[in-house]
Symmetry: C2
Subunit: 432 residues, 2 copies
């Protein structure tokens, strides 16, 4: 019906009050980088989009407290640059940083590369201001790390994808900028070896481990094929590769010697000849470029079916060896493109279409293949949506995999905060 | 009316179903270490106490995932010992570890010494099983660090002090056991110097800083008077002392040299002659004993009025210098005993009775003095309950300091989950 671009919390509240009074549904919207349709209106033409991009001010940076107060429409990259200029670091690390907005990051409880060390964005949030479904403003921007006075209401809004209110302002936790960094690309023959390396690094210097990313040989090959300049002369002859990032604010200790020790103990000196270790930011960013190019490379390769899953780390090897033959059985020649945040147990378990055959045929199998993957995920104790959320795309999965009590509690919370169902209806909660 | 000691989640559910059907109110209870009366029934004699102490099993320790699954009645110290026997560490550190129970820790979102590095217990919780007010069981014990499939319902129960349900089982995050530790007692002339040291340590090795505790000279003197064996020959001639704990899983780096550098840059070499540095666990525990003896020493000294406050760190010095004369003005000779978790901005701002005069007179001034302290806390952007919660004792403060929207949202959540108000009524939420 309309796209509204409010410039302040008061303007958001005024629009919401009006829409609520008229019974008009609203869709809060950030930087259009969500992958599940959570910020996309339905086809009725009777919903209002509330896009917060004009509310992009960084209101204050508190260098003693280590916090930043920022409006929801601020782009993640702009926030990162502003705090880095003051010697601080906001550790949410997403490929979409140049477009995504803080409000959307919070509404979807964004994850990314650094969850291992700093948690999801939920753990980085110290306070919120929210316009509720009836247009009232709820605000707790004190930013205190310890405050046990009543229910922690901000937790309700984080990750609820705009169904309980519109986040307008946030207080976020900062950390000291890393001054020492090591990035390494380590080829490994199997998941078990990768997890052995993970364990050894944790033993030796777990507090410095900021990322532990897995890439299958197929996902690396796609990057080499579609972005040859990114991969350059790297070895590509192992079944899996792990991208490790270690970082520390101090300079007193030597990350390289600790890392070499961990490599030696977990993989063995003779096996680790192919490990590529970058010790400065430029070299490190080249290794990260490989990891970050995978989604685009997969897009160029043709159609794909994507899954954003998490599993207990100990279940991953079994899950994969069980699923691969089942997938071939159902869809001969399907090419799994597996990569992601192994340290968190979160994999992007994507399927590329068989190289022979009709792309159209493959896409028609989406539902069948998704069912197969998600059934196995749940059977192994995992989640069918690790970091991308539910939006519109995975509401059927909610109905299928969530138990009655969980769905009932979610409905009760939704009804308590939005009894008229005007705030982003048709998202997250399945139809009942 | 009765104390019920269920032995399983099914037994808790059966009791709650029965009580809910009969309209009988229930009070979930752990280890009796809460400080705000949250687990104490009212005087009507018509409430059932649900004490979970028989449910004390450690169900599993997953050393790959780094998690433990434990029943709510398990004592914190028992849990710590069990995971330490396997080389892991549960970083919730409370003086009451020998009595308090995991369920109570979660229901009150317990804080303690190590919040600085590991967060409140909320950040350590990966999953919960809860018996709801009507006796249904809600369970999410998958323990996944990343799972964005619907509202994060466990957040509702953490810190809600048993008013929304009874926590029966939890999955908790573990970390690697520190193998290198440094504890130091550093005399400082003022809060500003203490915060300079805090900044320098964060710059140099923030990821290793596990505690940063403040003690006033009066609080140290009380320990020296009532527990002389604890203080031994330590210097006691500065206005404030800071207890610093650094720890790391690895052994490769030298904490002492990093720490000395930070001391030098923040306080200056000439000033730091009195710093006492312990480098092994025994010496370290002697320094911790001083900090931990303060509450008991204050008890032996006579009556006191306690405040569990948090403030933005930059506000603390101004808050104290403003409040001290006001306190003397209202209550001549009152002796503030200030100590606590400076790194989190959380102080135990306790008042000991004047040494001359009637103790009884002092206790009668509780309400007036509390009002004075909490008014100033709120004026400085702080919280009147940083880690102890609300229970029964601070419900008036909730009514006084929380805005209408916050109280309305809390009531809506309470009503959504416990419409018959049978789950720990008369706690946390103020009368409306």
């Amino acid at each position: 019906m309309a796209v509204v671009l409010p410039g302040s919390t008061a303007e958001v509240a005024a629009v919401v009050q009006y829409a609520h009074a008229q019974g008009i549904a609203m869709v809060p919207q950030g930087g259009h980088t969500g992958l599940c349709g959570g910020a996309v209106p339905d086809a009725s033409g009777r919903q209002i989009i509330l896009n917060l991009r004009r509310m992009r001010d960084i209101l204050s940076i508190d260098t003693l407290e280590g916090t930043v107060t920022v409006q929801a429409g601020c782009r993640l990259a702009d926030l990162q640059q502003a705090v880095e200029a003051k010697g601080w670091y906001f550790p949410l690390s997403l490929a979409s940083a140049g477009e995504c907005q803080i409000g959307g990051n919070l509404a979807t409880n964004a994850g990314g590369h650094n969850v291992l060390r700093y948690g999801n964005v939920r753990e980085l949030c110290r306070g919120l201001e929210v316009v509720l479904a009836d247009g009232r403003v709820w605000s707790d921007l004190s930013g205190l790390p310890k405050n046990n006075s009543g229910y922690d209401l901000k937790q309700l809004f984080i990750g609820s994808e705009g169904t309980l209110g519109v986040i307008t302002t946030a207080v976020l936790r900062l950390v000291r900028q890393p001054r020492q960094q090591l990035v390494a690309l380590v080829p490994v023959p199997d998941i078990a070896t990768a997890l052995r390396l993970f364990g050894a690094i944790n033993d030796e210097m777990g507090e410095a481990l900021t990322a532990f990313e897995l890439m299958s040989d197929f996902s690396m090959m796609l990057v080499a094929r579609h972005f040859p300049e990114v991969v350059a002369s790297l070895p590509l002859n192992s079944a899996w590769s792990v991208l490790v990032e270690l970082s520390r604010p101090g300079t007193a200790e030597d990350l390289l010697s600790s890392f070499s020790g961990a490599l030696d103990r977990s993989i063995g000196r003779t096996e680790m000849n192919d490990a590529v270790v970058a010790r400065d930011l430029v070299q490190g960013s080249r290794l990260w470029a490989i990891r970050n190019a995978i989604p685009d490379a997969q897009r160029r390769e043709g159609p794909s079916i994507k899954h954003d899953i998490s599993l207990p780390r100990g279940q991953i090897a079994g899950f994969i060896s069980e699923l691969y033959p089942l997938l071939q059985d159902r869809c001969s020649g399907v090419r799994p493109c597996v990569f992601g945040h192994l340290g968190d147990g979160n994999l992007h378990f994507n399927l590329s279409a068989p190289s022979a055959g009709e792309a159209q045929d493959f896409v028609l199998q989406r539902e069948r293949l998704e069912r197969l993957v998600h059934d196995r995920v749940v059977a192994h104790g995992g989640s069918f949506s690790a970091e991308h959320g539910i939006g519109q795309l995975k509401r059927n999965e909610m109905a299928r995999y969530k138990d009655e009590v969980t769905l009932d509690l979610m409905q009760r919370i939704k009804y308590a905060l939005d009894p008229d169902n005007v705030m982003n209806p048709g998202k997250v909660l399945p139809d009942r």
